[in-house]
């Protein structure tokens, strides 16, 4: 990863020096231990700020919606899939962006670090190839990176960006696995168990809309929950408002969500509804043979009609 970080900085510096791009959106070191954060680099000598490691958790394609000029963007596998989606949905123009692809072995879930620490404050963290060292008042311990990966990353089969203008480092092997085994397992539960799960999860929601705001696919100029003429939904954390908000968001992003995990990562209340997004992703794949964000040509299933589309729902 260190090597790739060096290549990334070099590539970024060249892009800015050659005036191929006006800005590069990447990651820099954050102000908290083990955190990185989005950064906007406009000068070649600022490219030394760029970092690449297992904590580059944000899906930067979010910023393409408002970016101006020609934009260089650092993209992991999932981010590149989001970008493909945004191009296809005509939110960004392919010619306006320069994709700096980075193969991604998986991103650490900071909530798993928190769980490991059991209430202790992290004061310093160091990442090596396979481990992270966690330090704080009266403790220093090692944790395996594998065990800290975000759940989206453990079932990811697109670690290498599907679309890029330059690739940093070499492609890494894509794991072979049943990426939907967790969906199968969840689907086999009884109705009331699933209902209880969704109610429990959404009951913690405080309607801060971080999930929606961080999601590259949520770009409606005005979200249905924000409409006031007419008001579709109340603003309270009452289950009838909260649960429906999340259900509708899932439907709105079905066939568009790439399971980047951003919605779950940003949630301050640990609301975990990714299983629902993944179920929608799986359904779209099975019903329409469409894998989201993997090519620029195929039309999104919700935006087209094929004569052999499944029609069992029409009785």
């Amino acid at each position: 990863m260190q090597e790739n970080q060096k290549h990334l900085r070099e590539a970024a510096e060249k892009l800015l020096s050659d005036k191929k791009v006006d800005v590069i959106i990447g990651y820099e070191r954050g102000t908290l231990p083990l955190r990185t954060r989005p950064v906007f680099i406009r000068e070649p000598d600022e490219t030394k700020k760029l970092v690449w490691n297992s904590r580059c958790e944000n899906n930067l394609s979010f910023y393409l919606k408002t970016a101006k000029g020609k934009v260089g963007i650092v993209a992991k596998g999932c981010d590149a899939r989001s970008i493909v989606g945004l191009i296809k949905e005509r939110q960004v123009k392919r010619e306006d962006i320069f994709i700096i692809g980075v193969p991604c072995p998986g991103i650490i879930d900071r909530k798993k670090i928190e769980d490991t620490l059991e209430g202790r404050d992290l004061q310093e963290g160091v990442e090596s190839d396979s481990q992270v060292i966690l330090k704080g008042e009266g403790f220093e311990e090692k944790a395996d990176k594998d065990k800290l990966l975000h759940s989206s990353c453990t079932t990811c089969t697109h670690r290498n960006p599907v679309l890029y203008d330059t690739l940093i480092g070499k492609e890494i092997p894509e794991p072979k696995m049943d990426e939907y085994s967790d969906v199968e397992e969840f689907s086999s539960k009884k109705d009331n168990e699933r209902w209880t799960y969704f109610n429990d999860e959404t009951s913690r929601c405080i309607r801060c809309y971080a999930c929606r705001n961080a999601c590259p696919s949520c770009y409606c100029p005005q979200c249905f929950v924000d409409q006031s003429l007419p008001t579709w939904f109340g603003r309270t954390p009452h289950p009838s408002d909260t649960l429906i908000f999340h259900m509708i968001r899932t439907l709105h992003t079905a066939g568009r969500c790439v399971d980047c995990g951003t919605c779950s990562r940003v949630c301050p209340m640990n609301v975990e509804l990714q299983i629902l997004n993944k179920k929608a992703e799986k359904d779209v794949k099975e019903l329409y043979g469409y894998e989201v964000g993997t090519n620029l040509e195929e039309l999104p299933p919700m935006a087209t009609f094929k004569i052999d589309d499944p029609q069992e729902f029409i009785k």
Binding site: G30, T31, L32, P33, R35, T36, R37, P38, V39, F40, N58, F62, Y63, K111, E114, D115, E118, G119, R120, D121, L122, Q123, E137, D200, R204, I206, R207, C208, Y209, A210, R212, N213, A214, D226, S228, T231, G234, R235, T236, P237, H238, R265, V266, P268, M269, N270
Partner: protein, 339 residues
Amino acid sequence: MKGKVIGKEQLAGWLDNLREEYDVWAPVKGNGLVSFHPINSASEIYFGFLNTRKTPKDLFFPQSEVLFSFRRGEMEKDRDTLLEKPRIIFAIRPCDAQNLALLDKVFDSEDYQDPYYVERRKGTLLFGMACTHPQTTCFCTSMRAGPFEKTCLDLLIVDLGNDRYFVEAVTEQGKDAIGKNNLLEDAGEKDTERLAKTKKEAEEKIKSKIVIEGLEEKLDKIFDSSLWDRVHQRCLGCAICTYLCSTCHCFALLDEKVDSGGQRIRSWDSCMFPGFTLEASGHNPRISNKERMRQRVMHKFNYFVKNFGQTACVGCGRCIRNCPVNIDIREIIQEIDNE
């Protein structure tokens, strides 16, 4: 008055005694989060917390509440009593208690008293748990407070790091709560020494500093500065910073109508949302995240100071820890200072 001490093993007994008269709310762990809940037994309390994810401000100013109901243009009935029993909030952190002094200025001023807030506030005793393990993001000592701050508390409880808690009554009601049982004994000289040492150590652990002196005047001059173009760039425009903030208290009033009746509801609102300033004409004076973030900073460190003479921040660090893109208010204050 002289302080008291109680053995950690006796604490459950003390709380059980108090529960006869009060509803006791305390930090409870669930789903990886620690939050305040009413407890039925001291065994439910999670002591290993640094601070709760959400602030306990919602125990006084809930995220959403029905102010009144109406039918055919008439008020339906008087609202219910908000608290069935007087309440104790056990182990509230000093920063979150100090915050209530700020909310009091808004909701319980000479000119205006919010009956919902006031009723909850008057019916609640605050038992603070001193912060012996402040976090790297804590900067309360910069906000004219500290990990052992007593503002708004009725009792301050301090984990002495051995088998005892030091208990100091701050108000008369706090004194009464101690007086009602014999599990607490007078603190000895060793306890007092230990208390002073614990306090000093805790204060020294707080390394984060921001400078608020002169900040208000500085902000007066930089409303149009290009600084705001820089600091907002990565902002997602969500409400984590405001909803998890101790001091943020903006709300919206909504009428939810069904047939000929309905309810008037007060719900939290956030200056980070586009709809916060969207006018009926369709015009929005705070058109982007830049204007919204400037408002958040201005309200806390300038307007609130002008209106109430204090900064609307207690240094709890929640906005720093929980921001998904690591926007750090300490850094913004530093940048403002550098302008």
